[in-house]
């Protein structure tokens, strides 16, 4: 790989170090036997991790986040599948502006979406804030991601396979279940994983829309102010980073394999 060592290679290595360096300090200090995130390191310990299980408010927040993330992943993928099909398989007039509109949450500052949802929920609809309101806000920001993953997957395989299925006597639903869905599976799985991880990590909208119950990022934010809670926060942060990284790698591998493999049905 280093056949042509040049400035760009050096730059790439430095860049990756810059990208990962600050974040990797978190796991390093989380196993450090001290109460501050300072050098020199004092010794290895897992006590910050073992004390997490006894922290009931943290465990409750974790449960809430898991529930919301699973619900959001499933619902936004379920909504995104037919929508992505409509965009890629039907030549709809106005599809361009519609897709642009649906991608808007990618560029609107999340604080604006947060306060806009807060206003309509509290002042117009009079609904109490709860985990449900957080989940609905998360579906809004996950949909564009799920849509783009599914659209690129659906564009990636030959529509003549679906035509063949219809010619052989399947109706639209049978074609979808027997041909389209299996072929789109890598996209569906990666959409589920992405929806999960976006919701699981999301802070700003959850911060505005949550009622009395915390999600994990909201709990984490409330802990960041207290220096004496730092080691526990670092341990929790490291675990969240690990979970996110594993999910992203899985999602990417499944998606890439689906796109690259010669056999379009391969997972």
């Amino acid at each position: 790989m280093f056949r042509r060592p040049d400035f760009l290679w050096v730059y790439a290595v430095i860049f990756i170090a810059f990208l990962y360096g600050p974040v990797l300090l978190m796991p390093i200090f989380s196993v450090n036997d001290g109460n501050f995130a300072t050098f020199p390191l004092k010794g290895f310990t897992l006590r910050h991790y073992s004390s997490m299980a006894a922290n009931t408010s943290m465990m409750l927040a974790l449960q809430n986040s898991l529930k919301i993330a699973i619900l959001v992943a499933v619902l936004s993928t379920t909504l995104a599948i037919p929508a992505a099909l409509a965009i890629t398989r039907f030549r709809l007039p106005g599809a361009g502006p519609i897709v642009s509109f649906m991608m808007l949450p990618l560029v609107i500052p999340s604080i604006v979406m947060g306060v806009a949802l807060l206003v309509i929920i509290l002042k117009f609809l009079g609904i109490q804030l709860s985990l449900w309101t957080v989940a609905s806000g998360h579906i809004l920001i996950c949909l564009p991601y799920c849509m783009s993953v599914l659209m690129s997957r659906l564009e990636g395989f030959d529509p003549s396979l679906e035509e063949a299925s219809r010619d052989l006597g399947c109706n639209a639903w049978q074609t979808f279940v027997r041909v389209t869905l299996p072929l789109a599976m890598p996209g569906v799985i990666s959409s589920l994983l992405m929806g999960f991880i976006i919701s699981f990590d999301e802070f700003v909208i959850a911060f505005f829309l949550t009622g009395t119950e915390n999600t994990l990022p909201v709990y984490l934010y409330s802990q960041l102010r207290f220096p004496n809670k730092l080691p526990g926060t670092l341990a929790l942060g490291s675990l969240i980073l690990l979970v996110s990284a594993v999910f992203v790698v899985l999602a990417e591998i499944i998606r890439k394999r689906g796109v690259q493999s010669g056999n379009p049905g391969d997972l």
Partner: protein, 319 residues
């Protein structure tokens, strides 16, 4: 519009099979679209409506008034100075924070593009094996918790942080450097780091799409590598680079997590004010007005920028 597509359209209007198919298509699209309208368009409308109301203590006055906007632009004879710039407003905080946020986001965007472009170039032109691995390596940080990525800079730059304790341990300093954290520079550094992964992919995609024979042709016709870069690579990758800069600039103007964690009192941004108006000062109508004005200013600046560089021409040239 060409004649053939006009005929096609006229035919589609009459052909019941195509009409049915379109109807089915809209049917499939509608659940997601209706949800987006209910959860994005309507809330934004509600926010606009709210900005015309006023808050009197605990009472929300729902009569239509421009008071909030009037308050934002009300002038005062004694201007407030920030960085030597006079702000002739009676309530100068929003205007100052807006200008400051735009400046900080612009600085972060320029830094992000400067750092991301060579990396995207490297991935598009230098990496021959394991391209997917590099892409995953770039993607992971972008998907991991924004909150944690920002917080990690607090650990790096903090009073008792990694840099200070490391330098102290090495005997290079006696007292912790206080200027590292809680200032606008810390916010700009943190924003750049948090968003840089976001910018690489669009630039990479536009570089990857460049027809390699164009580069060969330029070399064959006598261009040096540097000249070739400025005449072919840079112009052809401009749409991706512009998209990347907007993807970074627009959301960072309204960010408030970063100023809250590493900004300190001097590093606050317009998002901090919106959050404060809604959650602490209990003045949602004013918060709504500030958010709306912020969105309008961002939209205006982005439109102006795209017009100034001739984005339409740029895109159509590629097509």
């Amino acid at each position: 519009m060409t004649t053939s597509s006009a005929i096609e359209r006229a035919g589609a209007r009459r052909d019941p099979a195509i009409l049915r198919k379109r109807l089915a298509g809209y049917g499939l699209l509608s659940p997601a679209l209706v949800l987006m309208i209910l959860m994005l368009a309507l809330p934004v409308l509600a926010l606009v409506l709210m900005s015309f109301w006023t808050q009197n203590g605990f009472e929300l006055d729902r009569s239509f008034t421009l008071d909030n906007y009037r308050q934002l632009v009300a002038t005062s004879d004694e201007p407030t100075y920030w960085m030597g710039i006079p702000f002739p407003f009676a309530y100068p905080v929003p205007a100052i924070l807006m200008l400051k946020s735009l400046g900080m986001s612009l600085a972060a965007t320029v830094a992000v593009i400067a750092v991301a472009y060579p990396m995207a170039y490297f991935m598009a032109f230098r990496v021959t094996h394991n391209k997917a691995l590099w892409i995953i390596l770039i993607t992971i940080p972008f998907w991991t918790s924004y909150l944690l990525r920002v917080f990690s800079w607090k650990i790096v730059l903090g009073f008792n942080g990694a840099i200070n304790s490391g330098l102290k341990y090495l005997g290079l300093i006696d007292e912790p450097l206080e200027f590292l954290l809680y200032n606008p520079t810390a916010v700009v550094i943190t924003l750049s780091h948090a968003w840089v992964a976001f910018a690489i992919l669009p630039i990479y995609v536009s570089l990857e799409k460049i027809d390699r024979t164009l580069l060969e042709a330029a070399s064959d016709l006598g261009d040096s590598r540097l000249k070739r870069f400025f005449r072919i690579t840079l112009p052809l990758s401009a749409p991706g680079t512009i998209a990347a800069s907007l993807l970074v600039f627009i959301p960072t103007v309204g960010d408030y997590v970063t100023p809250a964690l590493v900004g300190g009192p001097g590093g606050t941004m317009i998002g901090s004010l919106v959050q404060d108006l809604f959650l602490k000062q209990n003045n949602a109508p004013m918060g709504a007005a500030v958010s709306i004005v912020m969105m309008l200013i961002i939209a205006f600046l982005v439109g102006l920028f795209l017009w100034a560089i001739g984005y339409r021409k740029l895109r159509s040239r590629r097509a």
